[in-house]
Symmetry: C2
Subunit: 225 residues, 2 copies
């Protein structure tokens, strides 16, 4: 059994895109890094074609920028774009929270409960990566339970960009635990079928996420444009 390449699924292009995307969001590939099709192809033992398709996909979601006949680079973080992204995400997720308060799927409610407990554990353990993964699962399940899974697709890439920007701010449990508390506040409002409270709790949650952004920019100006 090969533990290095767990052979996730799908085509080589899909696997490459998922892997590169993960590395970019996790800041393993720093903003500004030059990506060579040839180098990546050699690194993963495939041809240039699937690498190219993966990069095109990443360019479409604005994680990389392809400069024709010049090169491909990991895009730097833009504070202005991040604020605009938060605006869109807030609009969609607040509407989802409102709808969730009007009616929520029972099965999704069960899964949310488990997710919150798990997030609590991960926060205390200080596991950034797993915490972010379960944070994402929380918002996915919320959209599903509210009956609009397409809403998640619309904000999926936006959240990924925000996660990348805030990757360095999740330093320990003291930062992550309040986020779990905010999640619980949202769910409480949904359980109480209070749409205004649910929207308010979601808005407060999303408003705090980017609070550390100026601090990060001051510490790591090379990651920003």
């Amino acid at each position: 059994m090969d533990a290095i390449t767990p052979a996730p699924q799908g085509s080589a292009a899909h696997r490459l895109e998922a892997e590169l995307r993960r590395a970019i969001i996790g800041l393993e590939l720093a903003p500004g890094t030059r990506l060579s099709e040839q180098e990546i192809a050699a690194r993963f033992g495939v041809s240039r074609q699937p690498v190219r398709e993966a990069l095109i996909g990443l360019a479409r979601t604005r994680f990389v920028e392809i400069l024709p006949q010049r090169g491909t680079i990991v895009v730097k973080i833009s504070v202005r774009k991040m604020m605009q992204a938060r605006f869109v995400r807030e609009a969609v997720e607040c509407a989802v929270a409102r709808r969730a308060a009007e009616g929520f799927d029972a099965g999704a409610r069960e899964r949310i409960c488990d997710l919150l407990d798990m997030q609590d554990k991960l926060a205390r353990r200080g596991d950034h990566a797993a915490f972010q993964r379960h944070d994402e699962l929380f918002h996915i399940t919320l959209s599903e339970g509210a009956g609009c899974p397409l809403a998640w697709e619309a904000v999926s890439d936006i959240k990924a960009h925000m996660d990348r920007a805030c990757h360095l701010s999740l330093t320990g449990p003291e930062v992550m635990l309040p986020l779990v508390a905010q999640h619980r506040a949202i769910i409480d409002a949904i359980d109480a079928r209070d749409a205004n409270a649910a929207e308010g709790a979601m808005r407060a949650h999303l408003s705090e996420i980017l609070r550390a952004l100026p601090h990060i920019e001051a510490e790591h100006p090379e990651l920003f444009e």
Copy 2:
């Protein structure tokens, strides 16, 4: 000068994707149609590779579905997904309208004025294609003027899907002119700096768009899944 191929811009893959997308939205390529890479390549005088990249792009935006080793088809219209898409679009554009009422760019306001007059003319003339193009320009300019152009990117594909679904309902001026009136109502509320009224006008506008959908499905069941 070659009038057939206006050589828009960019790579062959981009041109192909734009052209195919236009044809799909305009229902020239009916939902359910099988798309062959070879046939398209021969038709446009290019190789299969750029065609493939174009189809991958269209698959990412859910206009086609690629079945591995089987074929690629134009996706059929789903009423349920269309309702979910409207939900997301409403969330984003209502937030944009609200922000626009709090402050709007003067230059964008000028362009909106011209766009509305032009839309009026096109509606009376019964020019569906140009009307939809200017309808899109209206929403783009609104997002720009409100200071969140990224919001348009988020709903761009969603609106394209809705346009495809409603393509057959824009039969004449009697259908298009009310839409222009709704646009004017939105702008009036923004001019009055009344955020609630702006959001309400936008919500009413977006709510009416899909009203004809059941009618269309009854007349053209082969376009739906």
